[in-house]
């Protein structure tokens, strides 16, 4: 292990880790929005919306994220979508994780006992009120942990944007592996930073989950 080299290059890795964190936060936010919309569409009363939601989820879960990213970044200009690599990364990966999150959210909502809605309706709440005030709060409690799994996967998933040359952790590691021929050192350095990011996020999710848990 070449400690001297690690001490020399680690500031670049720290900078890259900030980009990885930015990408993670933005893609997760976009994913949550897309996921919520798609989950709502899939459970809608309107057939067309249900079909659109199902197609979105099926297509984005049925093809590799890397292909989706390439299609958007390299193929986008052909259909008039001009994005820089970072934007394409956020939008591509956000849409991808959104499809997975949609299923997580739908699963949580479906697993809330149907009797809850019935009881709320009996008490005079409208369908929308019953959903907003009774079903959703219970479902949100259930979805924290599985969404945490999605988020954990997404943090690692941000590495894909290295393939479209966004300078984040994996790209930086790859570049330094190429220039120093020290793959183990560079893997170690990037790996430690990824594990720190994932561990901190994981602790945050566990905290939220415990807070939301019923006593």
């Amino acid at each position: 292990m070449d400690i001297e080299l690690i001490l020399k290059v680690y500031p670049y890795f720290l900078e890259a880790a900030v980009v990885t964190i930015e990408l993670s936060v933005l893609t997760v936010l976009l994913g949550l929005i897309c996921g919520a919309l798609a989950a709502a569409a899939r459970m809608s009363r309107f057939r067309l919306l249900r079909i659109i939601g199902a197609v979105y989820v099926s297509v984005f879960r049925g093809t590799p994220a890397l292909i989706q990213l390439f299609l958007l970044y390299f193929g986008g200009p052909q259909i008039g979508i001009q994005l820089d690599a970072f934007e394409a990364g956020v939008i591509g990966l956000g849409l991808n994780i959104g499809a997975y999150m949609a299923e997580t959210m739908r699963g949580a909502i479906v697993s809330v006992d149907g009797g809850q809605t019935e009881a709320a309706r009996t008490l005079g709440l409208s369908r929308a009120q019953a959903f907003r005030k009774v079903t959703l709060p219970q479902a949100m409690r259930l979805m924290i942990r599985p969404l945490g799994v999605n988020i954990n996967a997404q943090i690692k998933g941000t590495a894909l944007v290295a393939a479209i040359s966004v300078v984040e952790l994996t790209y930086t590691a790859q570049r330094y592996i190429g220039s120093t021929y020290k793959p183990f050192e560079m893997f170690f350095l990037a790996g430690v930073l990824y594990i720190i990011i994932i561990t901190v996020t994981g602790k945050g999710i566990t905290y939220l989950d415990r807070k939301a848990r019923l006593p």
């Binding site: 297509v59 299609l71 183990f184």
Partner: protein, 218 residues
């Protein structure tokens, strides 16, 4: 520049060969990850500490870092150690190890969930500890986690696109080859997406079949 899918048929054979390579690498890596997962699970649970601790550390490292980074490590790291593997083999090892770690976590939980009486009964009947594990406990444990392992294998198929970056000419790299000649990224990535989707459907069907065959409640 509009879309023009008429350029696709000329490269269809290149793409189809890519599909075959994608299937080949997925199947090889899936087999490696399945048996590797069982092996890692047994080591993590039963081996002496000098084997157990390194394996747990390795698992922790592999679960906390991106597959792409691991592929770079394996591909360039092995070269540095003087082992010059073909890209395909490096890809299978990288994908296989990555998913072996995930499978191992599932299998460990399942082994612990198999009733203790099974092991005791096997021991009473004269099996050694390793025989009891191999013939009684592990088959039951693995059967319990076939559905989640199937999900991992479907994820593996999609992640196999990543090995294009280390030069395995599977579906993604074949499409890039065609793009390099025609400068038509949208068309060929869209075609690749369609093929991935089809292979994915096939894989889901295979997994459902395996699930049905292995579940107790038929």
């Amino acid at each position: 520049m509009g879309l023009d899918f008429t350029v696709v048929p000329a490269y269809l054979d290149t793409i189809l060969i890519g599909v075959l390579w994608t299937i080949a690498i997925t199947v090889c890596a899936a087999i490696l990850s399945f048996f590797g997962g069982i092996l890692l699970a047994v080591i993590a649970l039963y081996a002496p500490w000098f084997l157990r601790l390194p394996v747990r550390f390795f698992a922790w490292l592999f679960m906390g870092t991106p597959l792409l980074l691991q592929l770079f490590l394996i591909y360039f790291g092995l070269v540095q150690l003087g082992i010059d593997l073909p890209a395909f083999v490096a890809g299978v090892i990288g994908l296989g190890l990555h998913f072996a770690v995930y499978n191992s976590e599932l299998i460990q939980t399942a082994i612990l969930a198999v009733d203790k009486g099974q092991m005791e009964a096997a021991r009473t009947l004269g099996c050694s500890r390793s025989q009891a594990l191999r013939k009684v406990v592990i088959p039951q444990a693995v059967r319990d986690v076939i559905p989640p392992i199937g999900n991992n294998m479907i994820a593996l198929l999609k992640d196999s696109a990543l090995v294009s970056v280390i030069g395995v000419s599977e579906l993604t790299l074949s499409s890039q080859l065609a793009i390099g000649r025609t400068y038509r990224p949208f068309e060929f990535y869209a075609v690749a997406a369609v093929f991935y989707y089809i292979v994915n459907l096939g894989m889901e069907a295979v997994m459902r079949r395996i699930e049905r065959k292995t579940s107790l409640s038929r």
